[in-house]
Amino acid sequence: MQLNSEQIAFLEDRAYQIRRLSLEMITCGEWGHPGGSLSMAEIMAVLYFHVLRVDPKRPDWPERDRFILSKAHSSPALYAALALRGFFPVDDLYCYCQLNGLEGHTDMRRTVGLESSGGSLGMGLSIAVGLAWGLRLREIPKVRVYCVIGDGESTAGNIWEAAMSAAHYHLDNLITIMDYNKVMAKGFVWEEMGIEPVRQKWEAFGWDVLEIDGHDIQEIAGSSYKARWVLPRGKPIIIIAHTVKGRGVEDTEFNYKWHTQHPTPQEADAMLRELSIRCGKPEEGYSRYHE
């Protein structure tokens, strides 16, 4: 299933907005993880604006697809996608990390559209496995459970407990996407704790594996279509999405120093101007620079 150029342009714009809003909210909240939010902007854009069957007017719709963000420190990208999709006003993003505002990681009791709470890494895939098991028992075959995991958190044992069990239960209603951005909190993954060979590991655990460029809209949409409609054959499916940590701004790309760090308003202004020019948009800085 090929997207036409109009669809691609639309989704690229959503990815741009997700990046932009992620940086805005991290700057405004003076806390956050820019690197992992920027690396998964296209993934979130394609999921929330092309793939997921969700309805912002009916967030509890029983037949909705479920999305679990295991790498919950990248919550800004998810919050931005939810706001742009209409789950809550975009203005609410500017309450990120403020008391009673949007929680630094994820709190499903506080934010409409979230399907789980998290932040401690390695835990989300197990939740997705339970959800997929439960939805299959409920005999809602159309529903899919999507889970985005990080490469860094794939050094956690809990991920592999979940991986083993998903295959054991034949959960082909579970689609995992790995945001393989190559960098964890304090350095390159291969330096900190090597996770390769990633593809072979997941295959050995009994999963069907797709491998894509995680910034290519066409590839994300194509693999998502395949994972949902073509592949299911009693095996869970993982899309290994190769991405660039901090994608969109030169200084943050593949730079572990921007894993957890918030830009000053001045830095954010420069970053957002660079991002807008790079994405072919009118030059636009930090919206709250002068506040």
């Binding site: 496995v129 959800l131 997929a132």
Partner: protein, 321 residues
């Protein structure tokens, strides 16, 4: 299965397993999740009746609680079952963050609590679970004291929306309550009125408090006995009301005295009505392998030890006057 004591009373784990299987008939939303211990925890009874609603995760306790969270999100009421030491030592992050933080409807029996674990030793003897669990927001914590109390706690746990942790001991206990007994969160039970000292028991130790009261009675000491199955929330009014009359207290728990049940009672007394008190339980030690009754003697958790602590508390009270 050697389930019963010399009087033929089934162990509390057996009462739990049978009750869960009964509840499964009435409530189709109950799912049971196992980490390779179903004959030990007695959820095998549920598995036999409802194999389609029984999920095996293998020896993977972190996954056990993550999966339980997901099942709750799908609208079910899961009971992930393993030994208490594994809940609090191997998977407390998953339990706390994935289940208790979003207040998901998951009921967690902590099995094999305290000393009676069939000679398993330090790895399997859970003494810290009360301390861990009662610090987790949104979580309710209970330790039933007899078979009727187990059934009542489980019924209430099911009817309560949100996460529950309850202790299941591998031990037989005599009946304290009648079969129509009910359990309410934050409500204790005054089992015997007294004037000299209050013995606060939870879980299996309430039976030992009753026995201690009899020993004290033989020495002319009139002990009040209070059972507090609901550890969180705890019955603050009953605790204060009782010590107002008796003036001193002893707590007894099949767990560490540090930050556990005795500490919960002490917190209330210190803030509202300070009186002399002593705590019976595991004293900052790892638990050894051994015959179960031998362990209770070794760790000074027998009725005689409770009675001795009661006399110390009374002496402290008199020394103050």
């Amino acid at each position: 299965m050697s389930d019963s004591n010399e009087n033929g009373t089934p162990q509390m784990r057996e009462i739990f397993g049978l009750t869960l299987a009964e509840m499964g008939e009435e409530h189709e939303d109950i799912l049971v999740v196992d980490a390779d211990l179903h004959t030990s925890t007695r959820i095998a009874h549920f598995k036999e009746k409802f194999p389609q609603r029984f999920i095996q995760v293998g020896i993977a306790e972190q996954n056990l609680f993550g999966i339980a969270a997901g099942l709750a999100l799908a609208g079910f009421t899961p009971f992930p079952c393993t030994f208490a030491s594994f809940v609090s030592r191997k998977a407390v992050d998953q339990f706390a963050l994935s289940i208790c933080f979003p207040a998901l409807n998951v009921k967690v029996p902590g099995s094999y609590v305290g000393l009676p674990t069939s000679k398993a030793g330090a790895s399997h003897n859970s003494f810290e679970d009360i301390a861990y669990m009662r610090t987790i927001p949104n979580l309710r914590v209970a330790a039933p004291g007899d078979p009727a109390d187990m059934r009542a706690v489980m019924k209430t746990a099911y009817e309560t929306e949100g996460p529950v942790y309850f202790r299941v001991v591998r031990y037989s206990l005599p009946d304290i309550f009648k079969s129509d007994h009910t359990f309410e969160w934050g409500k204790g039970e005054l089992l015997k009125k007294g004037t000299d000292v209050t013995l606060f028991g939870t879980g299996m130790m309430t039976d030992r408090c009753i026995k201690a009261a009899k020993l004290l009675e033989a020495e002319g000491i009139d002990a009040e006995v209070v059972h507090l199955a609901s550890i969180k929330p705890i019955d603050q009014d009953l605790i204060i009301d009782s010590v107002t009359r008796t003036g001193c207290a002893v707590t007894a728990e099949n767990a560490s005295i540090i930050a556990g049940f005795g500490a919960a009672v002490a917190e209330i007394l210190v803030e509202h009505y300070p009186v002399p008190m002593k705590r019976i339980g595991v004293q900052d030690q790892w638990i050894d392998s051994g015959e179960i009754e031998e362990l209770f003697a070794h760790y000074r958790m027998q009725p005689e030890d409770i009675a001795a602590a009661a006399k110390q508390a009374i002496a402290m009270k008199k020394g103050r006057k």
